[in-house]
Amino acid sequence: MSGAHRQPPIPAASNGLRRVTTGNPGADAILGGGFPSNSINVIMGAPGTGKTMFAQQLALHNADPERPVLYLTTLSEPLAKVVTYLQQLSFFDESKVGTAVRYEDLGAALIQHGIGALVSHVRDAIKRLSPHIIIIDSFKAIHDLSTSAADLRRFVSDLAGLLSAYDTTTFLVGEYSEDEISSYPEFAVADAIVELARRKRTTSDERYVRVSKLRGSAYREGLHGFRITAGGLEFYPRLVSPEFPRNYLPAVDRISIGIAGLDKMLGGGLLKGSCTLIAGPTGSGKTTTALQFALEGVRQGEPILFVNFQENPSQLGRAIEAMSGGLDEQTLQRWNAIYLSPVELQIDSLIGRSFDLIRETGIRRLVIDGIGDLLLAAGDVQRVHDYVYAFTQHLARNDVSSLLTFEIAMGHRYPASGLTEQLRFSALTDAIISLDIDATDRLRRTICVLKCRNSSHDLAIREMEITATGLRIA
């Protein structure tokens, strides 16, 4: 799947703009429904960021033999190279090439006749082909052939005039950097500017897209993650908090966390649709508590989603088997899992996949074990906070109860400083359960409920033990 709508898309502008969709639901959601038709758009980014693949995907998606897509290559990549690599991608359809998508190489004409050759060629192509989309890749390469800034400005103005006069939507693809936006004339005539970028991380790179201009239309601001796959680009619109209807009332029903003693400490269990944080050091029982919460769900007939980054599916399977004594096939079918190695983890794609599962399988309980790995992946505390906040708001809106785990140092019992302070868990969650290990004479595990909204919860710090079947509270 190539980036389906993970959350309700921004409604298209009410001014009746027709749209050119990208062939990518995620990208369309970011763009408020797609690019406005009859517009001139710049797709910018450093080499290797996915610009050409984005343009090719858009071209193949909009292929129409009656009014074809015209793909003009200039002086950057030879046409043969572009098409050779394009054939490796699953969205490529050879039968459309030459009919519904027309590739033409302008390199030689530009070298021989200068930049004016492009305007003549486009004018001629409009008459020959009636293209409803024109893509020029790379447009920035044209700059190298202009004789002066004034010459370039005249050329861009002339080309923009022609492209605006005719019923076609244009994409100018180029290796532009951000500081060129204010100086290059194509940005002044552009109706939309979409930037693809790559941010270096320790072990892998994170790709993101940003819309910095989109005339006459609402769009999702900010950075949105995307991945390059064999099926093309997959976009993950940045999560924003949902709108709650005026008559929205939080659920008052309670659900069991799956640990009898803890339900009692919480004042009768967790509120349905609430978000709970389990904080504690390694070995204190965070994952065990999370598994019990999930197991209780599947036993009650609820589909659940367990997201974790440390234990692979086999390890987790053994733990479930041991704790549950074996689940029947029907119950197991309600258990949905996402396992991602912290190295592979990209927060936007994880949220996107989770939303897909919630929509497709009617998830009622969700576990993220643990938030610290999200933090490592995103490398930005504020970003993780904003994501988790928006995500849990969506879950609450849909009565999905969630449980997050977060590792802290031993003996610090949920310190209100450092990362926990920065992540502002109190604002993110309805309940906070603190686990700890006391290591004075021997290891003793303890548990307490720091917070449980709208509940008269236990204030005691209680000893507990981890048994083969889970936590047992003294």
Binding site: G16, R18, N38, R123, D124, I126, K127, R128, S130, G161, L162, S164, A165, Y166, D167, T168
Partner: protein, 147 residues
């Protein structure tokens, strides 16, 4: 004439008596003029251009075109005033007028007496269809918007 031949020839020959229906186009945009000339010529029309509304009024009296296609935003007498003048002048009131504009002004075009309204950008199938419809006396099948 093939699709790739020079469209400006038809413009130059527009004033020469021809069996082809003559369309008087009023537009200042060189790109629109060239594409209008080309696609209308391809569709079998002869095309002549006026630079502004006043010139168009004069040419309408002398050339007796089958259709006037005008942008609203033209110098001097604007496209809507031109339309109104054509409709109140006995020798030109029978000439169908198509307002073809960047402005979404269908209602104003109708008030001025235009037979049809087309919104830019130029889409040749809509332009040619409207020209054929008004020439044939039928209600234009494509009006108002570019949708």
């Amino acid at each position: 004439m093939s699709r790739d031949s020079d469209p400006t020839q038809s413009v130059r020959s527009a004033i020469v008596p021809s069996a082809r229906a003559l369309i008087l186009c009023v537009d200042r945009d060189p790109h629109i003029r060239e594409l209008e000339a080309y696609f209308l010529d391809q569709a079998g029309f002869a095309v002549h251009f006026a630079e502004d509304g006043a010139q168009a009024l004069e040419l309408a009296r002398t050339l007796k075109p089958s259709i006037v296609i005008t942008e609203i935003l033209v110098p001097g007498l604007d496209g809507l005033a031109l339309c109104h003048q054509l409709k109140v002048t006995s020798e030109t009131r029978h000439i169908p007028v198509v307002v073809f504009s960047i402005l979404a002004a269908e209602a104003r075009a109708q008030e001025a007496g235009a037979e049809a309204f087309l919104r830019k950008p130029l889409a040749e199938h809509r332009l040619v269809q409207v020209a054929r419809d008004v020439l044939g006396g039928s209600k234009p099948s494509a009006t108002s918007d570019s949708a």
